[in-house]
């Protein structure tokens, strides 16, 4: 991580030398504008913090938007208890450094029932611990706006979502009844109990996110960088043995392989890739030359066609 942090010392997106802004400068300015608009018009915003690279960029932009003040809202992590250990350590460090309050919510019913990805499968685990957990947390604290790091280039149903995405009091998304969004004018008004999911980096691509992390020296979880790690191969995916909760099947033996993660979720659901990319430029290089899309490492999208759209209608971010 030190190497990442020291990769750039001065921020080149800050200084506009010419009047034509680069695409990253335009994206950054738009994102900051979105953050400020929400804080100016909503009663109780929160930032959903998932610890991944998109969350890292989101947090960085939020800090820029309100500098020299800290962002005037807390971070919320809806925890499934199955994240990588390195993610928890990183989360706590970032909360400390940003001076923001960190709220952690675990679905107490899911916890009591012992819901987990290994025993209950990805679908049940994601629904109970993430989707239901998120709704519980939003209701519990009464947040009326929640920032998320979703991007339109991630997945087909996301390409049509607004920057300001309205949810009914039951947290449902109605893709056929979205408000038109013109210019950078956002209608933030909502009825009692309704809330908004706000996506400040909607227009960023995966490459933009990586490039911005590189240029701005934004800290990320070390799991994104290649290192020798113990893995087993399952259903064509490399699963890291992060703790003793991963039961090994007959004949399975963890092997040390040099791997990294393109996307970070719950460790038994997130496949690693074999890679030698141990610096940010190498990660970007690998990403550009690769031939499979980002979310392929996640089991969640494989369930059925249109599965993400269904999950979103039910309240998944």
């Amino acid at each position: 991580m030190n190497r990442v942090a020291s990769a750039t010392t001065t921020s080149s997106t800050q200084h506009a030398r010419a009047d034509v802004l680069t695409h990253l400068q335009r994206l950054e300015a738009e994102s900051i504008q979105i953050f400020r608009e929400v804080v100016a018009e909503c009663d109780k915003p929160v930032m959903l913090y998932s610890i991944g690279k998109d969350s890292s960029v989101l947090l960085h932009l939020a800090r820029k938007a309100f500098y020299p003040a800290p962002p005037p809202f807390p971070l919320l992590h809806v925890d499934t208890t199955w994240k990588f250990k390195a993610m928890y350590a990183f989360r706590d460090r970032m909360a400390r450094e940003s001076g923001m309050e960190l709220l952690v919510h675990v679905n107490p019913e899911g916890l009591a029932q012992g819901i987990g990805p290994i025993t209950h499968g990805s679908q049940v685990h994601t629904d109970v611990m993430k989707t239901q957990g998120l709704k519980q947390a939003l209701d519990k604290y009464g947040f009326d706006a929640a920032f998320g790091g979703a991007r339109r280039d991630e997945e087909k149903s996301r390409a049509k979502e607004r920057v300001f995405s309205f949810r009914s009091a039951a947290h449902r998304w109605d893709p056929k009844n979205q408000r038109p969004e013109l210019w950078n004018l956002y209608n933030t008004r909502k009825g009692k109990g309704e809330s908004i999911r706000v996506f400040p980096i909607s227009n960023w691509t995966e490459l933009d996110v990586w490039q911005y992390i590189y240029l701005e020296g934004i800290p990320i979880v070390p799991l994104y960088l290649a290192a020798p790690r113990p893995v087993v191969e399952r259903d064509g995916m490399l699963i890291m043995v992060d703790d003793e909760r991963l039961p090994l099947k007959a004949g399975e033996k963890p092997e040390m392989k040099t791997v990294r993660f393109r996307t970070l979720g719950c460790y038994p659901l997130t496949g690693a890739i074999e890679s030698e990319a141990d610096t940010l430029p190498k990660i970007i290089q690998e990403m550009l030359l690769t031939t499979t899309s980002e979310r392929q490492g996640r089991l969640i999208d494989h369930d059925a066609a249109g599965s993400m759209e269904k999950k979103k209608q039910e309240g998944y971010f």
Partner: protein
Amino acid sequence: MSHKSELIARDIEGYLTAHEHKSLLRFITCGSVDDGKSTLIGRLLYESKMVFEDQFAALEADSKKVGTRGGEIDFALLVDGLAAEREQGITIDVAYRFFSTERRKFIVADTPGHEQYTRNMVTGASTADLAVILIDARKGVLTQTRRHSFLVSLLGIRRIVLAINKMDLVGYAEDVFRTILQEYHDFAAQVGLTDITAIPLSAVYGDNILEPGPNMPWYHGPTLMQHLETVEVGEEDSGKPFRLPVQWVNRPNHEFRGFAGLIASGTVRPGDRIRVAPSGRESRVARIVTAGGDLERAVAGQSVTLTLDSEIDVSRGDVIGAADAPPQVADQFEATIVWMHDAPLLQGRDYLVKIGTRTASATIAPLKYKINVNTLEHLAAETLELNDIGVCELKLDRPIPFAPYGEDHTLGGFILIDRLTNATLGAGLLHFALWRSQNVHWQALDVNQATRARQKGQRACVLWLTGLSGAGKSTIANLVEKRLLSMGRHTYLLDGDNVRHGLNKDLGFTAQDRVENIRRVAEVSKLMVDAGLIVLVSFISPFRAERRMARELLAPGEFLEVFVDTPLAEAERRDVKGLYQKARRGELKHFTGVDSPYEAPEHPEIHLETTSTSPEQAADRIVAFLTEAGMLSPT
């Protein structure tokens, strides 16, 4: 791809430096249903290698299952995102796509051609630098082509690519291309579009997408991608005055007070003299603060935080502008409105308007005309329906900083919001301020409401009785007025039926006329309150929005809403005037409670349930309320 891959593999840092400095082109694609928009965008993504192997495998499978190309690769499936679209085989919402080439990064708004979804096209056009308008070579210029061209022009897009697609289905014939181009030019000139690049294409086979291909040797212009990569981008910002709509006042402690926002136009440096609109106060820029250090200069498009060298009052919604060229301020405008909602526009209704970082109350009246987008004819109109475009006068409740949309999209573009449903109803573009708004000033008179009311030994207010026909409003209002009169108070009763015989005899009972009916009564009550009277208004006034409008015309505490609550069945049983019977027989249209809704008050000052309260008791309660509220003694 191969060239790009080589650079990435050989010199990733060099590639990143190049990518960092790429410019951004935002464009929209629009056209009629089945012009092949989705296929074209799918093809652009595929050709610029934005489609990964796993997506391609899924595409192959989908093409066999639901494709429309007999099992061949159907590129449209790459971009038809929502499940509902797959079933119907049409694009139903605006979607954003991203791709980049060696020269540029692109954001594409994929906008539908379906007539009822025109609002989405306007949405996509609002942020675009260029428009690609698709035409099916077999069909030529259609109604939708005209509509989209007009909208694109209206929203300030000047650069047009006319993509004449499906050339493969007309034998790649040059004369077909020429005929369509001529027809389009004739129309485009009428809407002010002159910068047109026409390209003959086959999105399905890839002709003139990246490479010219062998089929149209008669065409010597650029391919679509060549054009998109090289066309000039960016607004001409040089020379425009500095404008910063204040989004957020940043006050982390007593020492720091920063004004944050996205610069709408111009340039700013520390030391620049600024003027704040609408207050007119002046100061100088002290610092341009960002997390990466103070800036020496900031330009349009940057999000910054300014501090000033003197403490002056600046709030969200204000605009900080150059002192020698400050923004204009006005409260009445001529504007174009694009209506985007199922519920039609009601003239005179109180809407919210959001412009820049400011939200204000607005009414639209009169609606001057609507525009037939096929012929550009101006048609008389009472209302605007979904996808209608009209020109109107817009009146705000307070003066705001603004600019004509043609000069500044941020200070000239606005959205209209419904106060009750919070829906975005439409978008608008300011043309200019009306002469009178800058020249007619309110006369401050020496004798005012307070002196007039004091003379009468009371405080002026409006008792607004609302409820169904036959609820007992007029009976109760009469009793209240008699009691107040006997107490020596000065009153006036405005009754729905009576007012309709005179002041409002030109109005019927459509939703539009009901709004106007209430608006006039509210304005008359306001004048009477100014005269120091206690005004009783007895009107069905079925819509919350209009009652709210009346409330907002008056000072806080002057509007007292009295809900005369009689269940529909009871009112219909009484049917004093025989109107319910007529309405049920269909002889009376738009009758509240029968075929027109009644929106009950949510928080009335006085709630009278007539099934358990006699008219006399009701009148007592109202008088008691006035006494307790101090309305019957002078201030």
